[in-house]
């Protein structure tokens, strides 16, 4: 279990996540993609903490921060999706094209 291995796994997750973010029409699925990215990031963070930073507490904190980001964005995102769904009955990015140019 080397750092490289961990990071590569993280990279895979990030790649898949980015794919999801860019490809999904549904807001929810799109956010899942984001989650997956952050998942990879979190893995990388812990990996760094454990294998390069020599247990520097900052690393753990970073992981927590990433988690926080994830949570916050999920919450805000769901709230917004709800609002949009209520006012526009839209659940996909293509549903919202009034604001353009």
């Amino acid at each position: 279990m080397t750092l490289t291995a961990i990071l590569i796994v993280a990279a895979v997750l990030i790649g898949i996540g980015l794919y999801g973010t860019l490809s999904q029409q549904s807001f929810v699925m799109l956010m899942m993609g984001l989650e997956l990215m952050l998942n990879g990031v979190m893995l990388a963070a812990v990996g760094f903490w454990s294998l390069t930073a020599g247990g520097l507490p900052t690393g753990q904190l970073l992981a927590i921060i990433v988690m926080a980001v994830m949570a916050v964005e999920m919450a805000a995102g769901f709230a917004l999706i709800t609002a949009v769904y209520r006012s526009r009955q839209a659940d996909v990015t293509e549903g919202l094209t009034t604001l353009k140019h």
């Binding site: 990071l7 990030i14 996540g17 973010t21 807001f27 799109l30 956010m31 984001l34 990215m37 952050l38 990031v41 990388a44 963070a45 990996g47 760094f48 390069t52 930073a53 020599g54 520097l56 900052t58 690393g59 904190l61 970073l62 921060i65 990433v66 926080a68 980001v69 916050v72 964005e73 805000a76 995102g77 917004l80 999706i81 609002a83 949009v84 209520r86 006012s87 526009r88 990015t93 919202l96 009034t98 604001l99 140019h101």
Partner: protein, 467 residues
């Protein structure tokens, strides 16, 4: 724990919480009372900030929090902008049932922008971005029953979510490379030759911050928010986070040695941003959207100063002054829009000068200031930018900015022409007194910052940037 160093933030936070609680107990028709409350909180914070001006620049909270000229001035600008946008709000949201909470969110957003300006630790940076983003989405979508507003909100969110993800990724890589997130230590460790991974991490962080700055490539939310969000919120969102982010970006890039060619990157972003913004505004017939595009291009000008940071002592003061002048002028413009009940169609502005001479005058002043016509604030700001850019040997950048300025004149005039040259078709209704007061104040600042620029400028020249 040196609480004294975050007194302004604390007062903003406390007033936010207070407002939240108060809003949940006040009767519906008393909700507007939250506005004066917010003003009080901001005033107190302003006072504390001013008090900090005296102290010597320092890092506190074990290097997480910077108290230097840059952050203090930026926070002052943010507070003023927040206060003025509060003035715009009460009449606008009169019939909204969640009137009171708005101010709480606004205060938290202010807090986020302030934290951006002061952060000297990558994790603190992330949190600050997050705070100002999450409040920003809410403010943008505050007209929950109005399609445009929620659309603006969720588009803001989608762009923001990815930007934050990239930012977090970048920060994690930074941590992996340098085993720290503290600016001070970063600065000391970036010296030995940069690895390729550093460059990737660097550009990821830049994109993350560019999102708050509404700079290319993460500028796309700005026009939507400007058009869709409630104008008072739009006024706030086009200014406060931008001011904070500009300082944050300046701080961050300043950490890196020359073997990372960050100047060319920032310069590229600057050019792209000002050009895209101007081209976008050129054809607009929707005034609010036009203002959004124009504020994109203004970020581009601000980036000029960041490009030459450290090459010329005037770079930082120029940046701060430009941000201040931009803030007042932009607020004046959005204030006029608000006072005109969100009037946004270009044709609807015909004959404003006849119907409401004062509003027209304010609009003209703010636009001319945004173009940089002397002796308004914008002129001094642009002059300072050009001076520092040319002095640092980036004359070509100044030339590009010049061409962009000429282009921008066109779309500002496209609004001013009907405002002044035509006769009104229908009566134009206005909103109320506090919005009018805000407009007058902004116009006054726009003029006085230009005419009496010297004291401010002299103080700004003392400003420092840590670490």
């Amino acid at each position: 724990m040196p609480v004294g160093d975050v007194l302004p933030e604390l007062s903003v936070l406390i007033s936010a919480v207070t407002l939240l609680l108060a809003a949940s107990f006040m009767r519906e028709r008393d909700q507007w009372l939250a506005a004066p409350g917010a003003l009080i909180g901001l005033t107190v914070a302003f006072a504390f900030c001013v008090a900090q001006l005296g102290e010597a620049p320092k890092l506190t909270f074990s290097g997480v929090w910077a108290l230097d000229g840059a952050s203090i001035w930026a926070r002052l600008i943010i507070l003023v902008a927040a206060a003025l946008s509060v003035l715009l709000t009460p009449e606008w949201l009169r019939q909204d049932r969640r009137h009171g909470e708005y101010y709480a969110v606004l205060m938290l957003g202010t807090l986020g922008a302030m934290l951006l300006a002061g952060a000297t630790d990558l994790m603190q940076l992330i949190i600050a971005v997050l705070l100002s983003s999450v409040t920003g989405y809410t403010l943008a979508a505050y007209h929950r029953n109005w399609p445009l507003s929620v659309e603006a909100g969720i588009k803001y969110f989608l762009v923001g979510a990815l930007a934050n993800a990239l930012l977090v990724l970048g920060v994690t890589l930074m941590f992996g490379l340098f085993a720290t997130t503290d600016y001070g230590e970063l600065a000391s460790r970036t010296d030995d030759g940069a690895q390729s991974m550093t460059l990737v991490a660097f550009s990821l962080v830049i994109v993350g911050v560019a999102f708050k700055l509404a700079a290319v490539p993460a500028h796309t939310w700005m026009p939507d928010v400007a058009e869709g969000a409630p104008p008072p919120a739009a006024a706030f969102l086009t200014i406060a986070p931008k001011v904070g982010a500009a300082i944050a970006l300046a701080r961050f890039v300043d950490l890196f040695p020359q073997d990372i060619p960050w100047r060319s990157v920032v310069a590229t972003i600057a050019i792209a941003t000002m050009s895209v913004g101007n081209l976008g505004a050129l054809g607009q017939n929707d005034v609010r959207r036009m203002l959004g595009w124009s504020s994109v291009s203004q970020s581009g000008y601000a980036l000029m100063a960041i490009t030459v940071l450290g090459l010329d002592p005037y770079a930082l003061p120029a940046l701060l002054f430009f941000l201040a002048s931009y803030a007042v002028a932009n607020l004046a413009a959005f204030g006029v829009v608000t006072q005109l009940r969100g009037r946004t169609n270009l044709a609807d502005y015909r004959g404003l000068a006849t119907a409401h001479p004062l509003l027209a005058a304010a609009l003209i002043l703010s636009f001319l200031s945004l173009v940089g016509i002397p002796p308004l604030a914008g002129f001094v700001g642009k002059l300072a930018l050009f001076v520092t850019t040319i002095e640092s040997g980036y004359a070509w950048l100044a030339v590009v900015a010049l061409i962009n300025t000429v282009v921008s004149l066109v779309y500002y005039l496209r609004v001013l022409a009907p405002v002044y040259f035509a006769e009104p078709a229908r009566p134009m209704h206005t909103l109320g007194y506090s919005a009018a007061a805000a407009v007058v104040l902004c116009a006054f600042f726009t003029v006085s910052l230009g005419g009496l620029a010297d004291p401010l400028w002299r103080m700004l020249t003392e400003a420092t940037l840590l670490p």
